[in-house]
Amino acid sequence: MTVIDAPRPTMTDDERRALIQSAARATYNRKVWMSRVFMVFLGLALIIALIPLLSIIRDVIGNGWRYVNWTFLSTPQAAEVSMFNQNAIGGISNAITGTLLIDAIATLIAIPISILMAISLYESSGRIMNAVRMYVEVMIGLPSILVGIFIYVVVVTPMGYRFTAFAGALALAMMMIPLMTIACESALRAVPETLTEAALALGAKPSRVMLRVVLPYAVPRMITGIMLSMSRAVGETAPILFIIGSSLVNSWKPLQPATSLPTMMFNYLFNSNYQSQKDACWGIALILIFAVFLLNLASRVIVARTQKGRS
């Protein structure tokens, strides 16, 4: 009846089981001990990582909270600060407008390009596409100042040295595209192959499979990637610093100069003679951090929604 014909010369089943169980117990005990040590290290690493982060947040909130009021948010910066009334610096609405405008255009440009690139990277293999992927990955590490110089040379200069929000958006889009592409591609790669096969086996065209099965499954992860790339771009200063110029009024015109939150901060800190403007940077910093926080929160909410009923 038995199909076991392996001779077991060394030990009986019971002996073997006893041996394995004692090994398991010893391993477990060692692991318990090791995992305690490990936990201590983890805790220390966490604390070391959190200390600078928390102290930044503490400083920014501590110094910046008094700027968070409707007047500060809704009035543009003062055109000129007078020597005699240094505290009348106005608000930051022109920079909020600029940031929204530039980031919105940049995102609108970056999303379709990134998704198309991600799909083509996902769908095709081979030398050329591998080279493209490597190129994209290298672009992630491109110093952002280079992007700014590039846009200055190919966009701002030909337009007659005109500083525009649009040029800034192009620069930010260039920053976002590699990040978004890689994030979207890995979202596509995370789709279980069995799903693709199931759809193909139903006679679906590959393009249909992509649209109906792969993309819907990948969307939550893609959104996370897109939002993270956006929050990276929101705070970027270097690539837009010398291409968007500045605007003292709330301007929604892409082809006009604009001020964004990071560039305003830069100018207040380094080009202003007034302590009041330097102090206001705390407020701007708080708003920027809050914006990044909101983006992250939004991506979480969207992902949680789309993930419902999926296992």
Binding site: T2, I4, D5, R17, Q21, A23, A24
Partner: protein, 290 residues
């Protein structure tokens, strides 16, 4: 050859029994349906607000094969996964009631989960060999996880487990290739070998032969009968004949009016299949619903 082997086993055992102290003889003689290795009392599993299975109480006889049958969705897999605490990983999953292994409550700190799982093996409904490991490494993985390092022991266990799972002949010459390259049925047998290598006391099997051809199925069923000597088996199956053939005891689960699975009847397989106490069991056995 098989008969000889059986003879060898028997004579070896007789020899051992004769050599050992009387208490050991008693222990062997004691092995009957009365000895239970695992007890379930009012076990229920819920996912958030959904009750997947409830009101389950029975004893798992040591060195016996217990089958769980019932229609799709009656909570067989869910119940099986409660026995080695796999639901710990699922957010919102909750197991209530008591499950004891050798009189130790497995949910209330009686035994570390890791150790519990090294004593209770599992074969899943879908084959899941580790794709990054070779066939050899797949079988050896459990031993390595548990800190067994000696190569001779691992070699021996790999060969023995693969033979037990009726896979040795097919893979003997390609132990180093990736486990994912095997056919679906071969992968399932690889997973069985992987579970056996750890010498578990209990082996949980979730429809282990649903992906196998009749010959391999036959092998696995034979294997279960011979494995009983050393391991207690709990098997979920949709195949009535299989349940009747291989199991000693049988649990029948069915959805109640609110679609939650319930234990309808637990008895010896013989009784379930010849003289069930509950009419619903009879209906199911005779294929009247499900």
């Amino acid at each position: 050859m098989e008969i000889t082997e059986q003879g060898n086993e028997a004579s070896k055992q007789a020899q051992q029994a004769a050599d050992s102290i009387p208490s050991m003889v008693e222990a062997i003689a004691d092995k009957g349906p009365q000895t239970s290795i695992m007890s379930l009392r009012d076990v229920a599993v819920t996912f958030g607000s959904k009750v997947a299975v409830r009101d389950v109480s029975f004893d798992v006889g040591k060195n016996r094969v217990t089958s769980m049958i019932g229609p799709s969705g009656s909570g067989k897999t869910t119940l099986l996964r409660a026995l080695n605490r796999l639901h710990d990983l699922t957010k919102g999953a909750k197991v209530t009631g008591s499950i004891t292994l050798d009189d130790t409550d497995i949910y209330n700190g009686g035994i570390p989960t890791t150790l519990l799982r090294s004593r209770i093996g599992m074969v899943f409904q879908r084959p899941n060999p580790f794709p990054t490991m070779s066939i050899y490494e797949n079988v050896a993985s459990g031993l390595r996880f548990n800190g067994v390092k000696k190569k001779s022991i691992i070699d021996d266990a790999v060969e023995h487990s693969l033979k037990a799972a009726a896979l040795w002949d097919a893979v003997e010459n390609r132990l180093k290739v990736a486990g994912g390259t095997l056919s679906g049925g071969e992968q399932q047998r690889l997973c069985i070998a992987r579970a056996l290598a750890v010498e578990p006391e209990i082996l949980l099997m979730d429809e282990p032969t649903s992906a196998l051809d009749p010959v391999s199925t036959q092998h696995i069923e034979d294997l279960m009968s011979s494995l009983k000597e050393i391991v207690t088996i709990i098997i979920v199956t949709h195949n009535m004949q299989q349940a009747a053939r291989v199991s000693d005891d049988c649990a029948f689960l069915l959805m109640g009016d609110d679609r939650a699975g319930e234990l309808i009847e637990f008895a010896t397989t013989e009784k379930i299949f010849t003289d069930p106490s509950d009419k619903r069991t009879l209906d199911y056995i005779q294929g009247r619903f499900g």
